[in-house]
C-alpha cells in the first residue's frame, strides 16, 4: 500500500526544475542536455503509446470500412469510404443489444454482490483480532490466485449440478465469487491503513458504530472502494471462458461470447465484429484510466507493504 502514500512527484534526482548546478555539468549546457533528453524521452514515449493503441486504431478503422473494402488485397490503412453506418447497422445484424444487457447486468450485479460481501469481511478483519482471522486472510490470498479458466471444468460440472447452466445467475455467481478475494484484499488494506483513533474520535462526538463507518472510514477508503468496484466490473465485463462454457442461448450470452459470432465459416463481418468490440472496449478503458493512479497500490498491496 505504500506506493499509494508515496506521491508520484518523487521523480529522479535532478529532475526538479530550478536545481541549477546540481547536475554533473555545471556550465550553461545543462539546460540543453536536459532538453534533448526530454525530447528523446517524449519521442520514445509517443512511439510506445502508438504501439499500444495501434491495434485498437486498426479496430476502429476496420469498423468504419464498407464490406467491399474489407476484402480488398492489398488492404488500405484508411477506409476510402468512411462507413459510419456500420455502427448503426450492427445493432440490427445481431442481437447485440441483448448481449450488451447481459454483459451489463452480469457485471453490475456481480460487482454489487462482491462489494456487499467484501465490505463487512474486510472491515471486520482490519479492525478486530479473532480466532480464524489468519486462516480467513490466507483463504483470501490463495483464492485470489485462482482463475476461472483453470477451474472451468469444475465450474461447468457445478453449474450442471445446480441447474444453473445458461442462466445469468450462474454467471453472476461465478464473477462475484472469483473477484471477491481481490475486493476483500484491497479493502482490508485500506481499512487497516486508516487509524482506529479516527473512528474513536467520531464515537466521542456521539456517532454510533455505523455512523462512524459511513461518515469517517468509508469516505477515507474511497479510492480502494472505487478500485475494487471498477476492477471487478471490468473483470466481469471481459470474462470469456466461463460464459463460453455455461451459456448456450444467444440472448443469454455476454458480448465477449457473441462478438466472435460475426466471423464464422458462414459469414465474415469483421466490420461488425470490431464495431461491437469498440462499443464494449471504450467505456471500460475510460473507467480504467480513471483509476490509473490507484491501480497498482491495490494489486501489490501484499508485497510492497
Amino acid at each position: 500500500m505504500s506506493s499509494l502514500s508515496t506521491p508520484r512527484r518523487q521523480g529522479r534526482p535532478g529532475g526538479r526544475s530550478g536545481s541549477v548546478g546540481r547536475g554533473r555539468q555545471r556550465s550553461s549546457g545543462v539546460d540543453w542536455s536536459k532538453l534533448a533528453r526530454r525530447t528523446i524521452l517524449a519521442g520514445v514515449g509517443y512511439l510506445v503509446a502508438f504501439v499500444f493503441v495501434a491495434p485498437y486504431l486498426e479496430m476502429a478503422l476496420t469498423a468504419l470500412k464498407p464490406d467491399r473494402e474489407l476484402t480488398k488485397s492489398p488492404t488500405t490503412f484508411l477506409p476510402k469510404h468512411w462507413d459510419f453506418a456500420n455502427f448503426v447497422n450492427v445493432w440490427k445484424a445481431a442481437p447485440i443489444w441483448k448481449n450488451m444487457q447481459v454483459s451489463l447486468i452480469v457485471a453490475a450485479v456481480a460487482t454489487l454482490i462482491a462489494l456487499v460481501v467484501a465490505l463487512p469481511a474486510a472491515y471486520y478483519t482490519a479492525r478486530n483480532r479473532f480466532r480464524g482471522r489468519g486462516a480467513f486472510l490466507l483463504l483470501v490470498l490463495v483464492t485470489q490466485m485462482f482463475a476461472p479458466t483453470a477451474l472451468v471444468i469444475g465450474i461447468y460440472r457445478e453449474m450442471v449440478a445446480l441447474n444453473l447452466t445458461d442462466t445469468l445467475f450462474g454467471l453472476i455467481l461465478v464473477n462475484a465469487a472469483f473477484n471477491l478475494p481481490f475486493c476483500v484484499w484491497i479493502l482490508h488494506g485500506y481499512f487497516s491503513s486508516i487509524p482506529k483513533a479516527l473512528e474513536e474520535a467520531a464515537y466521542l462526538d456521539g456517532a454510533g458504530k455505523v455512523k462512524a463507518l459511513t461518515r469517517v472510514t468509508l469516505p477515507l477508503s474511497l479510492p480502494g472502494l472505487v478500485t475494487a468496484v471498477i476492477y471487478t466490473f471490468i473483470g466481469a465485463w471481459n470474462e470469456y471462458v466461463v460464459a463460453l462454457t455455461i451459456t448456450s442461448s444467444p440472448n443469454r450470452q455476454p458480448l465477449t461470447v457473441a462478438v466472435p459470432g460475426f466471423v464464422t465459416s458462414y459469414q465474415q463481418h469483421w466490420q461488425y465484429l470490431f464495431a461491437t468490440s469498440l462499443i464494449a472496449i471504450v467505456p471500460v478503458v475510460v473507467l480504467f484510466v480513471f483509476i490509473e493512479r490507484y491501480l497498482i497500490g491495490g494489486l501489490t498491496a501484499g508485497s510492497v507493504k
Binding site: S3, T6, Q10, G11, R12, R38, T39, L41, A42, G45, Y46, V48, A49, F50, F52, P55, Y56, E58, T71, S73, P74, F77, A118, R129, F130, G132, R133, A135, F136, V140, L141, T143, F146, A147, T149, A150, V152, I153, G154, I155, R157, E158, V174, A177, F178, P181, N238, Y240, V241, T256, V259, S277, I281, V284, V285, E292, I296, T300, G302, S303
Partner: protein
C-alpha cells in the same frame, strides 16, 4: 476459516449451556461474533471457488458420457487416457515454452517501460493512459484484432512488413504452427505488459530520492546505479509481477482459442486450451479433461505456494 465454521456448528447443535458456564457462553459468543461479518464471504468463496476444485478432482475419477451424464466410477482411467494422448508431451513442452518465453520477454520489456513511464517528459500522462488500454480491453477482442491484422490477404501486418521490405510476398502467419505460436506469444506479451510495467513503475516510485543522491555522491555511473541499486530494490515488485504473470499466462485461453483454436490439430495448443478441447470439442470427454485440469491446477497450486513465500505470508496474527 475452519475455526469459525466449527464454532458455528457448535452453536447450532449445543442446547443452551448450563447457567454457571457464563464464561463458556461468552467465549462462544466471541467465537461467533465474526460470523455475520465474514460468513458470507466464506460461503461465497467456498461454494463457487472451492467447490469447483473438489468437483474437478471428483470428475477426474468418474466416467462421464459425452452428453455429460455420470456413468459411475472410473478409478485412474481418465489419467491413463490422458497420459496415452500422443499430443500430451508436445503440448506440455509447448506450455513451458509459452509461459517461460512470454513472462521473460514481458518482464524485460516492462523494466524498460517502467523506467520510461517514471521518467519526466511532457505528455507522460497520455503515454501512461495509452499503455493501460490493452489491460482494460477484453483479451479476446485484442486477440481478434491481431488475428485480423495477421490475415493472409487483408492484414496490415503483411502490408507493413512488405512496405518495410522485410518480406517479399504476403505470409499466411497463423497457418504455420511455429509462426502462429510466435505471434500469439507476442499478443500474450502485449496484453501482459501494462500490468507488469505498472507494477514496476509502482516499485520505482517507492525508491527514495536520497538513495540515488547517495549513489551520485559516491560517483556511481548510470548503468552501475541501475544494476546495483534500482534492480535490487525492485526485487519484491519483480517477483510478484513474475508470479502473477506466470499464473495469468498459464491460464491465457482466449488468445490461442481465438487466433488458431490450438490448431492445426493441437500443434499450437497449450495445456489450458488442450484441456478445454478435450471436454468441449469432438467426442468430448469431460472426465479426461478434468484429469488434465487437475494436472494444470496442481502446477498452479505450486506457483501459489511460491507466491505466498515471496509475499512473506507469516500467518499474520494467528488468533
Amino acid at each position: 476459516m475452519h475455526d469459525t465454521i466449527e464454532a458455528h456448528g457448535a452453536g447450532a447443535t449445543t442446547p443452551a449451556p448450563a447457567p454457571p458456564s457464563t464464561s463458556a457462553l461468552r467465549r462462544l459468543g466471541r467465537a461467533l461474533a465474526p460470523l455475520p461479518w465474514i460468513g458470507p464471504a466464506v460461503i461465497l468463496i467456498g461454494a463457487v471457488v472451492l467447490w469447483p476444485v473438489i468437483e474437478m478432482v471428483r470428475t477426474s475419477l468418474l466416467r462421464i458420457s459425452s452428453s455429460g451424464a455420470t456413468l459411475g466410477s472410473r478409478g485412474t482411467g481418465n489419467y491413463r487416457d490422458l497420459f496415452d494422448e500422443s499430443d500430451l508431451v508436445s503440448v506440455l513442452l509447448r506450455t513451458v515454452v509459452w509461459v517461460v518465453g512470454v513472462v521473460l520477454v514481458t518482464i524485460v520489456v516492462s523494466l524498460a517501460l517502467g523506467q520510461l513511464l517514471n521518467a519526466r517528459f511532457p505528455g507522460r500522462r497520455v503515454v501512461r493512459w495509452a499503455v493501460i488500454v490493452p489491460w482494460a480491453a477484453s483479451v479476446l477482442m485484442t486477440a481478434l484484432t491481431w488475428k485480423w491484422m495477421l490475415n493472409y490477404y487483408y492484414g496490415v501486418v503483411n502490408k507493413v512488413l512488405q512496405g518495410l521490405g522485410l518480406i517479399d510476398h504476403p505470409v499466411n502467419w497463423l497457418s504455420h504452427p511455429t509462426q502462429a505460436l510466435m505471434w500469439m506469444m507476442w499478443v500474450a506479451v502485449f496484453v501482459s505488459l501494462p500490468f507488469t510495467s505498472f507494477v514496476i513503475l509502482a516499485g520505482l516510485q517507492t525508491i527514495p530520492d536520497d538513495v540515488y543522491e547517495a549513489a551520485r555522491v559516491d560517483g556511481a555511473g548510470r548503468a552501475r546505479t541501475y544494476f546495483r541499486i534500482t534492480l535490487p530494490l525492485l526485487r519484491p515488485s519483480l517477483l510478484v509481477a513474475a508470479i502473477i504473470n506466470v499464473i495469468n499466462v498459464f491460464n491465457s485461453f482466449p488468445i490461442i482459442y481465438a487466433m488458431t483454436g490450438g490448431g492445426p490439430g493441437s500443434k499450437t495448443d497449450t495445456s489450458t486450451t488442450f484441456m478445454y478441447k478435450l471436454a468441449f470439442t469432438g467426442t468430448g470427454d469431460v472426465g479426461e479433461s478434468a484429469a488434465m485440469a487437475v494436472v494444470n491446477f496442481a502446477l498452479i497450486l505450486i506457483l501459489v505456494l511460491v507466491y505466498l513465500r515471496v509475499v512473506g505470508w507469516r500467518g499474520e496474527a494467528q488468533a
